[in-house]
Amino acid sequence: MIPAPFTYQRASSVDEALELAARAGEDAKFLAGGHSLMPLMKLRLAVPETLIDIGRLGELSYVRADDGHIAVGALTTHDDIARSDLLASELPLLAHAASQIGDPQVRHCGTIGGSLAHSDPAADLPAVAVALGATFVARGRRSGTREIAAGDFFLSLFETVLEPGELLTEIRIPKPQSAGWSFQKFAKRGIDWAIVGVAVQGPNVALVNMGSTPIRARGVEQALAAGSGPREAAAHAAEGTSASDDLNGPRAYREHLARVLVGRALAEAASRG
């Protein structure tokens, strides 16, 4: 529970953060809310040499409507997202999912950028971003500013397409075409990560914790497009998934949960559509 030694640097602007990261090299990590990184460091499962604290970059904490999409700054906390009036009316799926993360302490520290960059398949917001068809904006000293589609961003557990020193700055989410949404999070306790989760926005269905990245439930989406009802479509929920066996149950149980939860999510989304 005591991290290995590291160097701590605090950035006071995005440019400085990028500069510090470029100088510190491969073994540097950005520190946002610290609620994924610090636990790993305390267990010495993560041993970064340098931490670049971006936690006070107020310039990256915002929710605003741009034309055609909503922009969320990467440093916006889960709690700010959960309480945003704009999101409540425009993207209730995101606001609601953020309210289901951990406990109040976690939600006040954890950030959307940290949650996405961390790429934990058990996290809620990656699947939500995928279901919403979000685009991520990243900046790096070498790569400049680039946009990455949520569906292309996650590579595997703790691995994304971000390059070392590249900072996630903004999440852009198009206004949904179809209003029906649902977020089903199945966990043992209120504070827990999902054993399985489902995010539905209109025709898009994404799964939490059914593989090494957030997964689009293509089989379900295709069945819906082909005119199947929610029940029939939900039967396809586990197709193409690769859930693992763990303390919370065997893979077959997870697959079963995916079907049940997708069924419930589709029914709820339909009731809101």
Binding site: I2, W193, L247, Y253, H256
Partner: protein, 760 residues
């Protein structure tokens, strides 16, 4: 009423061992343990040279340095069937540092002492230990298989055995007999404050500040382990952030801190991390039970058999005590003609097992309460009806149970009825029937558990109290009992006020310092009020009689004419309230001699609290997730002194009990690696998972002590676990499910549901 300790705890906060800023500890170095990462291995070499060179390292110590200890005591000869909570000696002895073999992940192998804590963690990684891995003994089955032995000279992993119960005729007259294997899983106590110790050796005297439930027992253990005269040891327990039985006395880690401070001549401090706490603080429960129950078709239970295999982990810290207590309480609150029990204690490559809230009694209740439900299901009778038929009737007390305990007082049937009425049992059953009929996804479960438990089982160990009234009208209590969250300060002040009329706010309670209180036992087994409280009450009565004499002298009245006005705390002449004197004046009059009394109360007897819990759960039959939606209880602990403290104990106890039923389990993999070593994987319960509890009042006074008090500390845990387990099983019983082992996680409940559906 507010607990007198709360304003401080909730504002400035407590002072726990790691918060201490005593001048004696100003130069203290930090201890970091090097712990075994392997469950079972021979140690073939330890190289500490790199660690010794690391920055800030003061010393690195291993078993090889333990050259200044007394020889180990001769084998006590205890077999573990005596029902005493002492470790087994001989072959089974537990070393301080592992010597040539490690037996559980987390066992201390070496200690790094550094100027600061961070250096310690880094240097500890540099201690290189060569292990030759051995096959791990995992769980009861692994121990009984005996293919790998923890203590080869012993020739077996079975440390204690009482033989098998063998009355083959026991179940002959029964119409229906049910048998079931039940796992009472291994739990971690998870106190908010982990273990912590600070030690200093100076001028031939050892001072140990330690997070313990009993400073005096810790001193006794220290004296034996380090070969010191108890007079040369001072043990101090400052604020203690929970113990639940796992902080009784002091364990090997704390002893090593004390030894090392003496060995290197420098003050030391140690506070474990949560990771260490999960691995190296003792665990609890861990029994595999086989129950067999039989009786007549009209609901009379005739015979009950309980066979226990106690997984005691890598070392037997309590001998056969836990399964002994389980056996003693096996019959529960029922009048059963034939009860037979047997137990074995087996060694496994896991954290040692010790007392955990209830310590042996929750296991007994869990077994028989499951058995009663199984029997009721077998004969097709409502399980509460079976309970009513078999509960010991009120006119049979004192009653000696089939498993040998003599219950003092009880109103068992009344307790059951109160809960059923309070919960609206008939309406709940109607609601359940409605949901079953409509095939609701959320099925309702109603689970009941009736219990009786033993508190202050070691009453003859006694408890001490010293009460002093000062010339400013205040009073100080020195108690051998030891507060670690229970609210002793409130209760003890109430007792003084009730007896002497000295306002609670003027009463200071001191505990947990062996220089001030050399004699005492401490807090466990729900013993405090009925022993320590009675001791204090007796001391107060002695002080009152002293006060009467002095006041009589002062007021020139006869003692018989004096009365104490407890509302004002004033002595006065009967019928002449103007002729009076205060406690301050009386104490001043006595002067040097002091107005004080010392009591060591050893006439106490164990008491037997009882009650019934009813848990209502909703089970999602599509996912297997169970949610507790109501919990209604009667917990009769005799005469209640402070309702707020009693309720607090019930609340915490119920929460922990529900947690065992639904969530908690310490799991090991096939190599003996703990896989639930963090609070992400080891799921303690939170408020989100719990409803508001419905606590009904019931007070049947104990007759063996003047306060009429029984223990309340463990009752909630004892009743809540089986009530919740029975409730979840009840919710799915219409599918043909009779039993599911704890914890009733969604995956487990779903597995039972899908299996039941497939076999239809």
């Amino acid at each position: 009423m507010v607990r007198t300790e709360d304003p401080r705890l909730l504002t400035v906060g407590g002072t726990y061992v790691d918060d201490l800023r005593e001048p004696e500890l100003a130069q203290a170095a930090r201890v970091t343990f090097v712990r075994s990462p392997i469950a079972h291995a021979l140690i073939t070499g330890i190289d500490v040279s790199a660690a010794r060179e690391a920055p800030g390292v003061v010393a690195v110590l291993t078993a090889a340095d333990l050259d200044d200890l007394p020889p180990p005591p001769p084998d006590s000869g205890l077999t573990g069937t005596e029902g005493l909570p002492f470790p087994l000696g001989g072959h089974w002895s537990e070393p301080l540092f592992a010597v040539d073999r490690v037996r559980f992940v987390g066992e201390p192998v070496a200690m790094v002492i550094t100027d600061d804590r961070y250096q310690g963690e880094d240097a500890a990684e540099l201690v290189s230990v060569d292990y030759e891995q051995l096959p791990a003994v995992v769980g009861v089955a692994g121990a009984l298989a005996g293919e790998s032995l923890l203590f080869p000279p012993a020739g077996s992993n079975v440390a204690v055995s009482t033989g098998t119960p063998a009355d083959s005729a026991a179940f002959d007259g029964c119409d229906a007999v049910v048998e079931q294997v039940i796992v009472n899983q291994r739990l971690a106590p998870v106190p908010l404050e982990g273990r912590a110790a600070a030690a200093r050796w100076a001028d031939g005297k050892l001072t140990l500040w330690v997070s313990t439930q009993n400073a005096q027992i810790a001193r006794f253990i220290l004296a034996g382990a380090l070969g010191l005269d108890p007079a040369n040891i001072r043990v101090v327990a400052p604020d203690v952030g929970g113990g639940f039985g796992a902080k009784i006395g002091v364990d090997r880690d704390g002893l090593l801190v004390a030894w090392a401070a003496k060995h290197i001549g420098r003050a030391l401090r140690w506070a474990e991390t949560r990771s260490e706490n999960m691995l190296a603080m003792t665990h609890g429960r861990a029994q595999r039970q086989v129950v067999k129950i039989g009786g007549t078709r009209d609901g009379r239970i005739l015979a009950y058999r309980l066979e226990i295999v106690q997984d005691t982990g890598a070392y037997s810290r309590m001998g056969g005590f836990l399964p002994f207590l389980t056996s003693l309480m096996a019959a529960g609150p029922y009048d059963i003609a034939h009860v037979e029990t047997a137990y074995q204690v087996v060694m496994t490559n896991a954290t040692p097992i010790s007392a955990y809230r209830g310590a042996g009694r929750p296991e007994a209740t869990a077994a028989i309460e499951r058995a009663v439900d199984l029997f009721a299901a077998e004969i097709g009778m409502d399980a509460t009806e079976v309970r009513r038929i078999n509960l010991v009737p009120a006119d049979k007390f004192p009653y000696t149970s089939g498993s040998g305990a003599t219950y003092d007082t009880g109103e068992y049937v009344a307790g059951l009825d109160k809960v059923l009425t309070g919960a609206g049992y008939a309406e709940l059953r109607a609601e359940q029937a409605r949901r079953r009929e409509t095939g609701d996804v959320l099925q309702l479960g109603i689970g009941v558990a009736s219990y009786v438990e033993i508190t202050a089982a070691d009453a003859d160990g006694g408890e001490t109290a010293r009460l002093v009234v000062h010339d400013d009208g205040t009073a100080t209590v020195y108690t051998g009992s030891s507060a670690h969250g229970q609210g002793h300060h409130t209760a003890w002040a109430m007792l003084v006020q009730a007896e002497l009329g000295i306002d609670m706010s003027k009463v200071t309670v001191i505990h947990g310092d062996t220089d001030l209180i050399p004699m005492g036992v401490g807090t466990y087994a729900s013993r405090s009020l009925q022993l320590g409280g009675v001791a204090l009450q007796k001391a107060a009565i002695e002080v009152k009689e002293l006060g009467r004499k002095v006041a009589a002298e002062m007021l020139e009245a006869s003692e018989a004419d004096l009365e104490l006005d407890v509302d004002r705390g004033v002595w006065q002449v009967r019928g002449d309230p103007a002729t009076s004197t205060t406690w301050a004046q009386v104490a001043a009059h006595v002067g040097e001699a002091g107005l004080a009394a010392d009591v060591n109360y050893t006439d106490g007897k164990p008491t037997f609290p009882f009650g019934t819990h009813l848990a209502v759960t909703e089970v999602d039959t599509e996912t297997g997730k169970a949610r507790l939606i109501r919990h209604v209880t009667v917990d009769d602990a005799g005469t209640v002194l402070s309702p707020v403290l009693a309720e607090g104990q019930r609340h915490g106890g119920i929460a922990q009990g529900v947690a065992q039923a639904l969530l908690e389990e310490m799991v090991y993999d096939a190599e003996g690696n703990p896989v639930t070593g963090t609070l992400v994987d080891y799921a303690i319960i939170t408020a989100t998972e719990l409803p508001s509890f419905e606590l009904l009042a019931s007070e049947t006074p104990a007759t063996v002590n003047p306060l009429g008090a029984k223990g309340i500390g463990e009752a909630g845990t004892i009743g809540a676990t089986p009530a919740t387990q029975n409730s979840v099983i009840d919710a799915v019983s219409h599918l043909g499910i009779r039993h599911i082992d704890m914890p009733l996680t969604p995956a487990r409940v779903w597995a039972a549901i899908s299996e039941a559906r497939e076999s239809r």
